[in-house]
């Protein structure tokens, strides 16, 4: 019986995958064709918000799949951005190569910092309260960025050299889209791989995973480092596109916004947070256009509305359409979903 089932499993999974993959490819194609239909401003916004989407995706990876809440993902985004900004201003003679070096420096620094922090804190008995570390990280980095005027541009931030900013926005947009698609596919494969399964097991109950013989610390460190790298990559793409970096980019406010985008879009899906980042940021842009004085009220209500009707986020809309009705807030299921923040009491239901 077991043998029969396990041989059927890959087939079942594959067939479940393909329609979803087809949908994804459609979406990607539409996005790729966007420059033909949308104005340059919208393409630019789309590209910018896609880089934000990378941060949201990174948060989903570490929190949605790993159960580790990070309220400081933008600290890594900012490190990527500042890396590019600093190096390109310093090594002007190298031209485009400086951008690459800056990207490597920024992403590398982010990953190293992530490894160092997570190693230090996951080695002790508790990574649950790691959220405190991530908040502290964002706050401290922002303070330093504001403070160091000569080194880091201070409160005004840094402008990238003029040659660094692409003139062909459509082209750059496609680059960003390609990167985001690649990262999405890569992380999707990763979470479905054995590594990903262990990660999700750790999220469910770290103790149990440990009892099964896994050295959970390293899985968490790897996930956190990957998330940091992805966020930093987003930062690199952002700073090249916009041509500027500023202290707010490393700070807590933006990091919290990333949380909002991720939850709004739908955690645990990897594409939901990207949608969430796009949706929230475009909503803010157009809302402030329509209702100059009251648009924030609109946004607040939007957040409440999505949570009331689709607690799973935007991805819940898709599921609801499929099922033909609004999602029911199932108490038990939702409680399971809520696990993973501050304390795992070791209870096993």
């Amino acid at each position: 019986m077991k043998a029969h089932r396990s041989s059927l499993l890959p087939l079942a999974r594959a067939s479940r995958l393909q329609p979803a993959a087809a949908l994804g490819v459609t979406a990607l194609a539409l996005l790729a064709l966007a420059p033909l239909a949308l104005s340059p401003l919208r393409i630019e916004l789309l590209a910018t918000f896609l880089t934000f989407g990378l941060v949201a995706l990174s948060l989903d990876l570490i929190w949605g799949f790993g159960g580790i809440l990070s309220m400081g993902q933008f600290a890594f985004f900012g490190m990527g951005s500042y890396g590019v900004a600093l190096v390109s201003n310093e090594l002007v003679d190298l031209g485009r190569l400086a951008l690459l070096l800056g990207a490597l420096a920024g992403i590398g620094a982010a990953v190293l910092l992530a490894v160092a922090l997570s190693y230090a804190f996951f080695s002790t008995s508790l990574g649950d309260l790691f959220v405190l570390v991530t908040i502290a990280l964002a706050i401290i980095l922002e303070r330093i960025a504001v403070n160091q005027t000569e080194l880091l541009g201070g409160i005004n931030g840094i402008l990238l050299p003029y040659w660094a900013v692409p003139t062909n926005i459509d082209g750059y947009y496609l680059v960003v889209l390609a990167v985001v698609a690649f990262v999405f596919v890569a992380t999707t494969i990763a979470v479905r791989s054995p590594f990903g399964r262990v990660l999700r097991a750790i999220k469910g109950s770290e103790q149990r995973a440990q009892f099964l013989g896994y050295d959970t610390k390293w899985y968490k460190i790897a996930a956190f480092a990957a998330a940091a790298g992805i966020a930093a990559l987003g930062g690199v793409l952002y700073s090249i596109l916009t041509g500027f970096v500023f202290p707010g980019l490393v700070g807590f406010e933006y990091s919290f916004d990333a949380l909002v985008w991720t939850v709004f879009g739908g955690m645990g899906t990897l594409y939901g947070p990207i949608l969430g980042a796009l949706a929230v940021n475009f909503a803010k842009f157009y809302a402030s256009d329509i209702l100059l004085d009251y648009w924030l009220l609109l946004i607040g209500f939007l957040f409440i509305a999505i949570v009331v009707f689709f607690p799973d986020g935007l991805v819940g809309i898709g599921r609801a359409l499929r099922r033909g009705r609004l999602p029911r807030r199932n108490g038990l299921g939702a409680m399971r979903a809520a696990r993973g923040f501050l304390t795992a009491r070791g209870r096993n239901f």
């Binding site: 959220v131 908040i135 706050i139 303070r143 939850v263 009251y294 607040g300 957040f303 949570v307 923040f341």
Partner: protein, 285 residues
């Protein structure tokens, strides 16, 4: 390093600790009970201040406002709980997003109604009292005394009354408490009321000392996170302790090192405490 200066620093730290503890208490108990973070909690703080401002602008005395504003804020908290938050309490992320949406709305409404410019409330009494050779502002002393009294009262309520026992039971093991016949819904509602009222009280108390602006609540919210994590989530005794660490640390460290380093050190101390004792100073696992 004179005694006067150190005493003043300690007293400043104490007043900040008391305020932080009042704000964080509500957040902590609500998290302990419902496992959700109320992102609008900082707005309750600022609404307490604005409430007091409004009451005094009607011609009523400061003291009337000091009682009325927290009660009104508590009522608002209760209504929001009943109307919205209760339905979402099952999901941490849903409650997070919804309460954040609420906080955006409240902030914007405050700005629309009261305007973005900062307001100030007059101190009900000025002057200073003498502590030894030190002259310390009388109103700040009042904040310390009143704050400690309220906190002590809350702790007593929590540890000495049967209602407090019910709350403690529900925090410790919600399902068991419900199974034992404790009305957890009612406890949630009352805790929301009390927690919000305490935050509002903190805002009302502090209003003569800080400029009241729509954004003033956010900074205290982040500090509150640290307070409850250091003190122990859900622990009513731990929250004042956490407040002491964060608030006291912020004040005391400032005189030795530059304020920027002081902030960094405080954050690091908090992180260290929490890694050494992950459940917080007084939390239980």
């Amino acid at each position: 390093m004179d005694v006067e200066f150190v005493t003043r620093q300690l007293l400043n730290g104490l007043s900040l600790s008391v305020i932080l503890a009042l704000i964080a208490l509500g957040l902590s108990v609500i998290f302990g009970l419902m496992r959700i973070l109320n992102m609008a909690h900082g707005e309750f703080f600022i609404l307490g201040g604005y409430g007091l401002l409004w009451v005094t602008s009607l011609g009523l005395s400061f003291w009337v406002g000091l009682v009325a504003a927290p009660l009104a804020v508590g009522a608002l908290g209760f209504v929001l709980y009943q109307g919205l938050i209760r339905r979402l309490a099952a999901s941490f992320t849903a409650a997070l997003l919804a309460t954040w949406g609420l906080s955006i709305i409240i902030r914007q409404l405050v700005q629309i109604v009261a305007g973005p410019r900062p307001y100030s409330v007059d101190e009900p009494f000025s002057g200073s009292i003498s502590i030894g050779s030190l002259q310390y502002p009388a109103y700040r002393t009042f904040i310390i005394i009143a704050g400690i009294a309220i906190l002590a009262g809350t702790v007593l309520l929590y540890y000495r009354t049967s209602f407090g026992l019910q709350i403690r039971a529900a925090i410790h093991n919600r399902e068991m408490a419900a199974a034992l016949g404790i009305n957890t819904q009612r406890i949630n509602g009352v805790s929301f009321f009390v927690g919000s009222a305490l935050a509002g009280l903190a805002g009302a108390l502090l209003s003569p000392l800080i400029p009241l602006a729509p954004f003033a609540g956010l900074a205290f919210l982040v500090d509150s996170f640290f307070v409850i994590l250091v003190g122990g989530v859900g622990s009513v005794l731990g929250t004042p302790a956490g407040g002491l660490v964060i608030g006291g640390g912020e004040s005391v460290l400032q005189f030795g090192v530059s304020p920027l380093m002081a902030d960094i050190l405080i954050l690091l101390i908090a992180v260290v405490i929490v890694s050494v004792r992950p459940q917080g100073l007084f939390g239980t696992r």
